[in-house]
Symmetry: C2
Subunit: 113 residues, 2 copies
């Protein structure tokens, strides 16, 4: 969490060299000059990649403890293992272990060239 | 664009230490075990931060040339300057110049502590 955040308004998180900025749905719609109405699948997911296979299950459990809802239980898939949860505001998160995309020590992802 | 991409299926882009993965709405919904139906505002935007104020207008023009639609014309705001466009699939993008969040030489953002 960065000190640039404003309590009750916006939270900025460092995520590698990019930024995850959380603020209200209404404020974003107003800033973008569009209607804030919308329903159903949003067409995107935030993904949290982990370094060890077992962490997929552990992170999903942690999300549930924090108020999330599992929508896809952890399972082995062709690239490794993943699962999905929805946070209390309905945003979709993937938790993934993909040994083909190794994590650096600082948690950043190294894509193949 | 990473060589891990699969033509016609998924495109992986390096974005700092994180990854932007583009694949079909239906494939993501199926992977997440949810219904792919949805409409209206998705509740999120991808932001492209630029180093110079004038680049906000230039990137919006470039987006329009590539098939995007401006939904918020570039304007000066309290943190700098921004504008928004929708890509051909309706995804919302912000183009922002925020001198309080300077860019490193490699384009990554440096948040205040």
């Amino acid at each position: 969490l960065s000190g640039a955040s404003v309590e009750g308004e916006v939270a900025f998180f460092r995520t590698g060299g990019t930024v995850l900025a959380l603020w209200s749905r209404e404020a974003l719609a107003e800033d973008a000059n569009i209607d804030s109405e919308g329903s159903g699948f949003s067409g995107f997911a935030l993904a949290h990649n982990v370094a060890q296979k077992e962490e997929v299950d552990a992170v999903l459990e942690e999300a549930v403890s924090a108020g999330g809802t599992v929508v896809r239980e952890a399972r082995d898939v062709f690239f490794g293992r993943n699962g999905y949860f929805a946070d209390p505001e309905g945003y979709l998160w993937e938790v993934a272990w993909n040994p083909g995309f190794p994590l650096a020590e600082d948690g950043t992802i190294r894509l193949p060239d």
